[in-house]
Symmetry: C4
Amino acid sequence: MTNISELREYVLAQNSRLPDEGLVSLTWGNVSGRVDELIAIKPTGVPYLGMEPEDIVVLDLEGNIVAGELRPSIDTATHLELYRAFPEIGGVVHVHSTYATAFAQARIPLTCLGTTHADHFNGPVPVARPLTADEVADEYETNTGRVIVEHFRTNTIDPLHVPAVLAAGHAPFVWGVDAAIAVDNAVALEASAHMAILTGVLTGTQPDPLEDWVLARHHERKHGANAYYGQGKQ
Amino acid sequence: MTNISELREYVLAQNSRLPDEGLVSLTWGNVSGRVDELIAIKPTGVPYLGMEPEDIVVLDLEGNIVAGELRPSIDTATHLELYRAFPEIGGVVHVHSTYATAFAQARIPLTCLGTTHADHFNGPVPVARPLTADEVADEYETNTGRVIVEHFRTNTIDPLHVPAVLAAGHAPFVWGVDAAIAVDNAVALEASAHMAILTGVLTGTQPDPLEDWVLARHHERKHGANAYYGQGKQ
Amino acid sequence: MTNISELREYVLAQNSRLPDEGLVSLTWGNVSGRVDELIAIKPTGVPYLGMEPEDIVVLDLEGNIVAGELRPSIDTATHLELYRAFPEIGGVVHVHSTYATAFAQARIPLTCLGTTHADHFNGPVPVARPLTADEVADEYETNTGRVIVEHFRTNTIDPLHVPAVLAAGHAPFVWGVDAAIAVDNAVALEASAHMAILTGVLTGTQPDPLEDWVLARHHERKHGANAYYGQGKQ
Amino acid sequence: MTNISELREYVLAQNSRLPDEGLVSLTWGNVSGRVDELIAIKPTGVPYLGMEPEDIVVLDLEGNIVAGELRPSIDTATHLELYRAFPEIGGVVHVHSTYATAFAQARIPLTCLGTTHADHFNGPVPVARPLTADEVADEYETNTGRVIVEHFRTNTIDPLHVPAVLAAGHAPFVWGVDAAIAVDNAVALEASAHMAILTGVLTGTQPDPLEDWVLARHHERKHGANAYYGQGKQ
């Protein structure tokens, strides 16, 4: 991807996947993508259907608008905080998808119960701590990002091993090496959360986590140095 | 919107959103919109697909038909009662959407558990009391509206802060400053109800409500005097 | 409807609604319609998409084929038993729709918990008793109908007041004055069952039934002598 | 089916049914079909939409590629193990469908609770034992097949009577006499699992299984020597 026009088309396409994958209602979600020092993100409050490439807002990592007439997503400051803290990521997704949001509202981490989860998340998806009243009063969206980064640093979690978090009382933030992978991970998070709730209904207690050796194997066969999933193109 | 023809087209379009948003089966829902002293509403028992603007019935606030050959929605008297009591609202939606209706049937208010709820409802969505046998025998639909108004007045709830109610044993009524916002709120109510049931399944007990400061912040950033969500067009 | 060709087109159209309304997977459901002494029904094992009017099988009330090259639905004998016992009905639907079937498998009647149910079923939807081994060994499908009729006669339930039953361990049978109304009732049964399960999850115990006076009012405003729902065309 | 080209078109069509039937997200599922000594299977990591017949990989029973430029499904070794052990099967499906996967994650067999299940599975769908760390470290996918075969042999289950298994902590594998029937069975497994979870929610305890005589009758009327379901073409 070599220019702003391509970046906008790509980020528009990834935003359009959100309703198609059943991850959003109305305008409740946004995808951003990064190339070098530029971030492109959905404009706030604009429907996915009918959105044009020039509606996508392009900013630098400090949040200065480089291109675009519209206001960027209200969650832009959270995206920027994640990009600044995790330079290895190239795409961020925020959605209020039903099942993952239920875990965020229950403030319960998503334990790995099976290979669907293991294929995308190399361990449990954590809950970031709730914000204090002061953190909400001032720089709310930036602080939403800061408590996520705080959680990953304090617990030494590699953001590419566990590319998602549940914001307590809010909803998930999900990421990846690029925006397409970030959307894939948001799909996987929602499916894993749906299956985890059902598994708990069946067992009646907290289900046993997946064996460590299966978790490791599944993650490695898809993401490790000798990965053999896929056609080796991505 | 300057004339009856435009009002009908607008109200038709908002009714057509009900099946698209998954809020209705068959003909189980209706949207009305108000401009000045005129109310336009879906005709009773007519499918959404194939409905024409002239099928939309136009009435005054007392329920006299101003335009239209068809009978208005069977719930028209409830809509009119809400419009007369709450002059600040410009649209009303009645649907039997699955998850919100489950709360209405359980007669349990919908507590605010997260920001999806907070973005649309500035506090819990209440349950209006059941009607007595006498209230059902005579002027049933008007009385359905009266007990809603009674609840909001007795508890001094601002109808634009909490633009929805659960009619006990029945289903939700939802509203907004116009019909499009009322439908948005009906989508948000259904999503919040779905997430709330799942959150309760996960916690096993009544989940903790969202912190007050997050509820206030989310509602204000979208609806307050200094709102910064959206492009400032609506 | 004056001839076999019209009857077939009508019954085909009603069968095609089953996948559109989310009531069936694969070929797991069938609709029949009656005009005078003729029954038209879906052929067994044929997909809904691509079915032609001449694929619909026409039989007399004793099950003799009057028109059609294909085998009729495997459940035809159950439909015929219902038509012979309940001459006031003109359409029958059998589906394995998810939520109604869960009640049939749990062998729990569907209590009326709200107006969605009351609009279509004037009281609880009962469970017919399981068949004995002998009843299954010989004339299984006819006996499936016989135990339904036995339940309605023993309990003096009017089949037009409660146009559905849950066959224990099996799935619902639903009917109406014509096939279109029977499909409407199957949609209403599935929605009511879905809402009832969710209501029970919320209350944690068997929820209270809807007040009798609301049940009566809702059924009467839609189906009574002075019904005021709909445009009076059906 | 007489040649590789026809086999590929057929297997492509059956893979395309997976998203249409709601059995997969992203690229999380694969169908293979066998004709004589040739197996055709989906390529790994390739989206269903836009897949071409020549993308389908053709192998012999030992896993040598006979035709195709792409890498075969990462689960190919499991498919091959099943084909070698069960020569009577002609199609295999692996999906992470939500409800069946919840049972696999809970490691609870799917009891037969009703006729939807009985029409496709002549008894409970079992859970194969978890793999040991050693079995995961080396030949993971082949060992996934071996523990399935071990379960069916140890318990003397006829793979055509119960054409599915739940891999513990993973997801279902489903099969049939051909690939189309295998996909039908995957649809039936998912529907049966969905209904079973709901039935358990309603009863509050493990629901009673379906009577043996109904299970036998339903399976026989569809699959027995004197089957009378369907038009006798398949």
